[in-house]
Amino acid sequence: MFQPKPMTHLLIAASKEQMASVVTELYRHRVFHITDFVDQGKEGYEGVKLGVPFENAGQLSSDLIKIRSIENVFQTSPGTQFDVPVRPAETIRAAINNELPKIESEVSTLTAKRSNAETKIRECEQRINELKPFALVPVELDLYRGYESLAVYAGYIEKDIDFAFPSEKYFAAGKDGNFLVAFVESANAQEAEKVLSDAGFISVSLPTETGTVQAAIDKYNTELVQAKADLADASAKILEAKAKYADLLAACDEVLSCDVERAEAPLRFATTEEAFVLDGWVPYDDVAKIEAGLIQATGGHVFVTVDEDEINYDEVPVEYNNPAFAKPAEVLMDLYARPKFKELDPTIILSIMFPLLFGVIVGDVGYGLIYLALALVGRKLLMRMGEMGAKAFKIILGCGISTVVFGLLYSEIFGLSLPWHSILFSRHLPIGGDHLPQVMDLLVISVAIGVIYLSVGWIFGMINHARMDHKGAHRTKAILGKFGWFAMFWGMLIILFSLIDIGTFIAGITIPLPNLTVIGLPLTIVGAVLFVLGAVFVARENPLDLMEIPTNLLSHMLSFCRIAAVGLSSVAIAMVVNFLAMEFFISPALADFSVVGVLLIIVGVLVLIIGHALNVVLGVIGGALHPIRLHYVEFFTKFYQGGGVIYKPFGLKRKFSEE
């Protein structure tokens, strides 16, 4: 909680003969985060070079490329395959050796057939289009060529022309343009071309077919039908092959990806002529397991040591270490940034407060049930998205439940009242209803949540500086800087409460607020001292920071008003939708029943459905984005930097195969 998993820095050294067993063993455990060796002449690493991949890496990579290209033809990937039985990796390797060439040739035959058919279709269509204008001319196709003393022209022209010399021509007006065919003596060809080009003639190539135009077009049409049948046949066969091989290909893809990753692992090692050194991190709890495994795999020919030198915490990979219920919120954290190793990890706060605030904002039994239903309907889809989808599902579920609970407390269902009066605060607006919302109470509670968030933020900020900065005057200044903001903030609040009796000052508030004006001046002085002291501490760290007083103290606190405001606007939309549908359409129709009345009722129901659907979507934006933003912008800026190295253990999570 609040801390990532403790990590241990491991150095593994062995002779090169053991490299394969070490790699296999580490890959199997899937806990070792390799720090890539960079050849830059680090002290103590003179003469050490990057490793070279295992011999079979080239072959494996080319096999993998073949698999991927077949998958590309089938438009599948391991990510789109589900419910595939897990097979032993050896069987799959055998399949890669025995069946892959067969599958590859089958697929390439099919794709060749498909692309031939596609080419044929294109050609036929093109020929038909080119022949079509000639159908307007009553001349057989053989007659367009084979002359020694005649020049033939065919093409599109704007309007008919006349030649000043003997010629034979045919002009046909068509909707795609006017078509002209002309036969002139070769002697007049030059002049004819000039006349034609002056008239804006666009020539087309002369046909090479024989017989009548229609016969030629019919012939191409027959070929076209055949080619289309071939294409359909090839596509169907490809689909058939896809159904047959897709799961095997996914498994092959996985096994080969693993093999390639292992074969290329030495590229991340530091090697000498005879030995290699592997640098990386292992979760503290797994050290003993890894050590024992390596010793067993190499028969004791390996040197594993825990590096206990001074640690550069910025290099330590960070793996979340949260209780199960908080895990889903890690998605929301990674959206911002992974915490640094020594930084407080606020995931747990986010995991509790995000669904809670979602519920506070949307708070409606009807909408909550819709969110729950959507989550359950989309469950399979989300689960297929892997770990992230599963986490998203849990977050939506949490938000849905919280929305229902707050809906019960607010007494709201689709903007209507439940049979009881609101238990918490009323958010019922005077739209077609009778009681007033407790706007002030809601706003005050929202701001109070803000006050807590900001205070916790600055306290976390102090802790983070204390833990992460190097010891010295700078660290003290930074910690006091955060304390300065905290002091100014509370100084401001104390001054406010000592001068004004907020409880009676704000009209319509029912929450009992302490009346601190009875203490009066002494309290004001305490507040003022705190404020000035805070300002001094902040200025000591950086005087320019004082510019942020309005935003940090006021804007950020008042920004939490959105919890009440966005919630009220959601209620308002729901109530307006109900009011519109009931008062304008459904109630008048029911009072005076007729055919028009039925239509009115249908329109009214449509207004209800569309309006509430819109509000459900807006609820996601209001209920999810605003709390997230409050955390990211108002809360995290007080203490959180992020940017830690993400823990990526060496190894692939297998879905289709097992070693």
Binding site: V439, A507, S559, S569, Y632
Partner: protein
């Protein structure tokens, strides 16, 4: 006289509450325009960033809603005008 004064009083009240409603509308409307002006640049950049890298979507959406604070303040003022 007394009746006349009463009528004027009721009239003034009606005008007052009408003006309050106009004020509430202006608070939300003008703040909304401000937010829109703020969001237009961010939105364009966010769409660009998302087109480049779909992983940016979450962060881009978040940046886009940042200026929404302005309209929330407007909404709060409107609520205060209407219900207090």
């Amino acid at each position: 006289m007394a009746v006349e004064a009463l009528i004027t009083d009721i009239g003034a009240q009606a005008i007052g509450s009408g003006l309050a409603a106009v004020g509430a509308g202006l608070a939300v409307g003008l703040a909304g325009i401000g937010t829109g002006v703020g969001e237009q640049g961010i939105g364009a950049a966010a769409v660009g960033a998302t087109a480049e890298d779909r992983g940016m979507f979450g962060l881009a959406l978040l940046f886009t809603v940042l200026p929404e604070t302005v309209v929330i303040f407007g909404l709060v003022i409107a609520l205060l005008i209407m219900f207090i």
